[in-house]
Symmetry: C2
Subunit: 304 residues, 2 copies
């Protein structure tokens, strides 16, 4: 991907203002206390605005059992984005070899072996096996609130494309019609939530970044069936950036994880996700780099 | 390490109460909304009780550039705990091979290559290169507030030994005497903060889990020099669990990252860390699994 010049400029502005902290690896950035305050303020706004929905809250760490991702089909669809955790399990002599190579700047990858965890690629993945373990869904299905750090191996200088970022999601698991109703309701509701903090977004059909030629067919089919919608905002790139996505999975996760409705049917599912770093970047783009000058109403909603 | 039976019992109680969610991999656990609420309540209490110290706040993601850990000596001291992120960078044919192996339950580790990031092992590691990049320390040094997810490759059924957990740290970088003063001040102050939420702790000399025979000598030297102190609380294991640690690094990070004081001397550093999951587990151990029955004063301080 060619990075338009403007991206670099916005990234440089964010770094100069101390809001983002470069680490030497593209897409791996620290955040200032102010950036974090805005991000957590929006996170809390999502909590407040969905409190009456009665979602069950659960949180998972930024690592996930490899077996869970294997079962979900993630590695077949997105092998290039997935990160697996390797570690050292050698002898004392091999540890000395490792340290010597590190000191000498030599490759030490062959001294690492695969563990049974990966870095979580999307906040909702651990939800499906957790829901499945509880047995059939209750009548009316379940609604789960999840938030956490996600990893995608896609180094980029676009400040809106970080390798590690946080996602606040709601996941609906129920019968087909119940899931479709919930999904349809969030098309406007998500836009209103973002508009409440001054972000005017457009809703567009979208597709996931599936790998390879087969992946391009999958993406095309996903788009035709309107399974993925995104709310986009012009953060920095030539093309507006998705800051919210709404995904209807059909019975994909229901089949993979054997989740049944109370009637014994395969459960359908959908999820709504706010990209927290992206929403925060959009807020800085819209209202400026100094939060003191943001509109009072926005500051109030974000708890600034 | 042999896990005493009691650990398993406390873990089972936490799981039965829905506070922790097993994932199938030891030490990788989800947390309920209630667990998270308590944890974030203590995190915020640390913020409030240190607000007057004027620490600079910065947050880093749960991944860190490999080059930063290589420079810090972490891989020489703790190769067995470190996790490096590998990913797929092959062709379409290799992606099909990967998917086929995943579906068939075969090993696919040779289709992964090392990326330039690792999973962060302690919240403070990204702080040193960030401070170094700003040039010499100002007179009086710097104080940094950092919080984030940490990874240690040490699968265990002890609920207090998770592979992924969060740490809230303060890092002091200054001249030797200033660092030693700050370090000394936190010995009692940390105990008082924990006591304010009902946790009576003991302070004990400690050492880091260095690898191998040479590591045992390093650990012994660290203990003799009183470089690492821990506040321990009996969470679940036979031996009390450290829930706070206080580490004087001497000029270790100052030398590794070339950090200088305003006088041009090599900077010394120290850090104070609260293990947030461990403090939370200690609170459940001390006050019971039902937060509704906790003492009013504790509930108030934690915002419950």
């Amino acid at each position: 991907m060619t990075i338009p010049a403007e991206d670099t400029t916005f990234l440089e502005e964010l770094v100069a203002a101390g809001l983002l902290v470069p680490t030497g690896v593209s897409g791996v950035m620290g955040r200032s206390g102010t950036f974090e305050h805005v991000l957590l303020g929006f996170d809390a706004l999502v909590d407040r605005s969905t409190a009456a929905d009665g979602a069950e809250v659960v949180r998972f760490p930024p690592i996930i059992p490899t077996a869970q991702l294997e079962r979900s089909g993630y590695l077949a669809s997105f092998p290039h984005l997935a990160g697996s955790v390797f570690s050292f399990s050698g002898s004392e002599a091999e540890a000395i070899d490792l340290a010597t190579r590190v000191a000498g700047g030599a490759d030490w990858s062959d001294l690492q072996t695969q563990t049974d965890v990966m870095v979580t690629p999307a906040a909702c993945y651990p939800v499906y096996p957790w829901v499945a373990a509880a047995g059939a869904l209750p009548p009316g299905g379940r609604l789960v609130d999840i938030s956490g750090a996600c990893f995608r191996h896609e180094p980029s200088t676009d400040p809106a494309r970080m390798q590690s970022f946080r996602m606040h999601e709601l996941v609906r698991l129920a019968a087909r019609d119940e899931v479709l109703d919930w999904h349809a309701g969030w098309i406007d509701r998500g836009g209103e939530l973002l508009a409440s903090v001054g972000l005017a977004t457009e809703i567009v059909p979208a597709s996931d970044p599936f790998f390879g030629r087969v992946g391009r067919m999958l993406a095309s089919s996903q788009r035709e069936q309107n399974l993925k919608l995104e709310r986009v905002f012009p953060i920095a790139a030539e093309k507006p950036t998705p800051i919210m996505s709404l995904n209807y999975h059909q019975d994909h996760f229901g089949l993979d994880f054997e989740i049944r409705t109370s009637d014994g049917e395969v459960a359908h599912s959908a999820c709504l996700a706010f990209g927290l770093e992206r929403v925060t970047l959009a807020l800085f783009r819209e209202h400026g780099l100094d939060t003191e000058t943001w509109p009072d109403g926005v500051r109030g909603l974000l708890g600034l």
